[in-house]
């Protein structure tokens, strides 16, 4: 079945430094739809950004990601981390009929002053 891999469980960095959270996926379908969800403390996950177009950068709230089907990747990036970016980030995949949404194990981002 479909799977999503987020290799980092915890990323700690200093405010102002760039952020990169890794996400790779596996699916037998050629039409993957990739998502990043963010969950702040004591809140529910909410959508950060999404893409289904190969090699096209998508941006939202200072974050960006590009779907690369050749490498099955959808890494999340930001040029300069802010304290308020501290949260749990989930990468997720829909493919095929698209109703099933598979999440990765999540990456906790902790930004220090």
């Amino acid at each position: 079945g479909d799977s999503v891999t987020q290799t980092e469980g915890l990323v700690t960095l200093t405010e102002g430094l760039p952020v990169m959270l890794n996400c790779t996926y596996q699916t037998i379908y050629s039409n993957p739809f990739l998502f990043w969800y963010v969950q702040h403390l004591n809140e529910s996950p909410r959508l950060l950004l999404k893409s289904f177009t190969d090699n096209k950068r998508t941006e939202h709230q200072g974050f960006h990601a590009t779907l690369h089907k050749s490498s099955s990747s959808f890494h999340l990036q930001k040029s300069s981390a802010q304290l308020s970016d501290s949260a749990l980030y989930y990468c997720a995949l829909s493919a095929g009929m698209g109703y099933k949404l598979t999440f990765g194990t999540g990456t906790s981002l902790l930004v220090d002053p």
Partner: protein, 112 residues
Amino acid sequence: GGIITQTPKFLIGQEGQKLTLKCQQNFNHDTMYWYRQDSGKGLRLIYYSITENDLQKGDLSEGYDASREKKSSFSLTVTSAQKNEMAVFLCASRLGSQNTLYFGAGTRLSVL
């Protein structure tokens, strides 16, 4: 806008007990989901429902039942609670496929 309401917010059960979690949405969304959230394991799909009276098993369906008798509601039953089990169960919904998933606030389960 809409809202997803999960009840109860906290659920304490006994080992072996059958426990039911409820979810209501007023988005008029077709598709609804139940996920289990455990620290370090991410969000694991238990059941989902594409439309009223439809049920699809997720990756973690063993030990659970689900019911979608109305478009607006989706319930989850833990058939036999496991001792010392602690998890957050999140209900979610979206319109069709490939659209934004909206989550409820969650039900926190503790089993004594």
